[in-house]
Subunit: 226 residues, 2 copies
DNA sequence: CGGTGGGTTGAGGTATTTCAAGGCTCGTGG
DNA sequence: CCACGAGCCTTGAAATACCTCAACCCACCG
């Protein structure tokens, strides 16, 4: 019943509002499916396309030589990702679950942008939103405790994929850990603490857990600007 | 002799290249001086101006309710800061040392941007550069050891304010610590280790230290994408 | 000169990591 | 249709990187 909360294709794609030209057919775009775990693009690859999640979930990350990983963001239905100013991608992007994605040729976007300032403004707005997210995430990574990080994560997911109140998390504990800069065991322990304090419930024991949170209670634990 | 390396007003301001209109006098701008420690703008204040460092150094930070601080970036001669997409600043900005700053009315920039796509493109480019910096910093804050963080910091400063090879750091240990998400004692210990390993020299014991680094050696210690 | 604002270093404490074991779910193939 | 392995999650116990607290030093300034 709750299984597809997060991948609901009925959700209104945000891009339509953001980049009017796309819906006017002035920019060439295609659609593509990636199954869980597939790489969408790699770090330092040429950024020939930008992407929009139609349904599913995507993680973007950086990897260190010894395997340490930092996930910079999760992208959910409606989100744009892979937008770069330079010629190369700065993250690797992978589908977390089976995911449908719209592809837009960058070249075609550039062409339209030359004559249409609204398009560039949209790109600027999206880049600014990514920047604001990264800035808040720096505070989390630099200064918050593990409990605060996990509370902030749940609040973010609550805000982004819950009209009703139940969250079906598409990502596993390792993904959450690499997003929050802690280990998967610490994530698990923090979730247990929150559950014991009644700020969190697991509905059903099915692999991808469905979660109900108490946003006001969690907000008291973190210092979230969002 | 090295005292003012970092605040050299002779350095070519980067803005001239970035925002041509400013040098054409089509955007109203003024100049202002802030002494060390002064606040330039505060978190959640209206973003009526954008700023360019002419000489000196600025830190921008977020503060938690209990005083924990995360510095998002240091801005040096030539850098633009305070550029927001929304109406409010998302950081507090303070002068680290005595600093000269150029102010540009946002309203006046907006007006020009309506007719000049080059301006919006410049804003997009600058925002993207800030984003790229934040993305790299997330990896540092989430996954690097204290030694790797300090090495990365020194490399960044080396790249940004050293044509010659000596760095006069404008910020103190607490600022560095809050930028790197560690404590000032840990910064100090890491610097001592680097010094013992010959990757770093202090020139002169004067309050604001001058530092000479071995970039290749430091690079081996971190995983820096920059 | 005495105080203040850095900075370094040591010793001990602690949050988080690491290592390890065990349980649950689900898909697959005998 | 059941057995089994793989993936995921949780929990415990021990190790450790970093933090906290504290002492001390030095440079600078009124």
């Amino acid at each position: 019943m709750f299984t597809n909360l997060n991948t609901d294709p009925g959700r209104k794609p945000r891009l339509v509002g953001e980049l009017g030209a796309l819906s006017h057919g002035r920019v060439s775009s295609g659609e593509f499916k990636y199954s869980a775990g597939m790489e969408i693009f790699g770090d330092t690859e040429p950024a020939d396309y930008i992407y929009q999640v139609i349904a599913g979930a995507v993680r973007i990350h950086k990897l260190m030589a010894d395997g340490r990983r930092q996930i910079g963001a999760f992208h959910l239905a409606g989100d744009i990702f892979g937008l770069e100013n330079g010629d190369l991608h700065r993250f690797t992007a992978e589908a977390i679950v089976d995911t449908r994605v719209r592809l837009i040729r960058r070249e075609s976007l550039e062409r339209v942008a030359n004559t249409d300032t609204a398009i560039i403004r949209s790109l600027l707005k999206m880049t600014s939103e990514n920047l604001a997210h990264a800035e808040n995430h720096m505070l989390l990574l630099g200064r918050k405790t593990s409990l605060e990080r996990v509370a902030a994560f749940l609040l973010e997911m609550h805000r982004r994929l819950t009209p009703e109140g139940a969250i079906a998390l598409p990502m596993n504990r390792r993904d959450i850990a690499d997003y929050l800069g802690i280990t998967l065991e610490t994530v698990s322990r923090a979730l247990s603490v929150l559950r014991k304090n009644g700020l969190l419930k697991f509905l059903g024991q099915t692999q991808r857990q469905i979660v109900v949170v108490d946003p006001a209670g969690l907000a008291r634990l973190t210092d979230n600007p969002e």
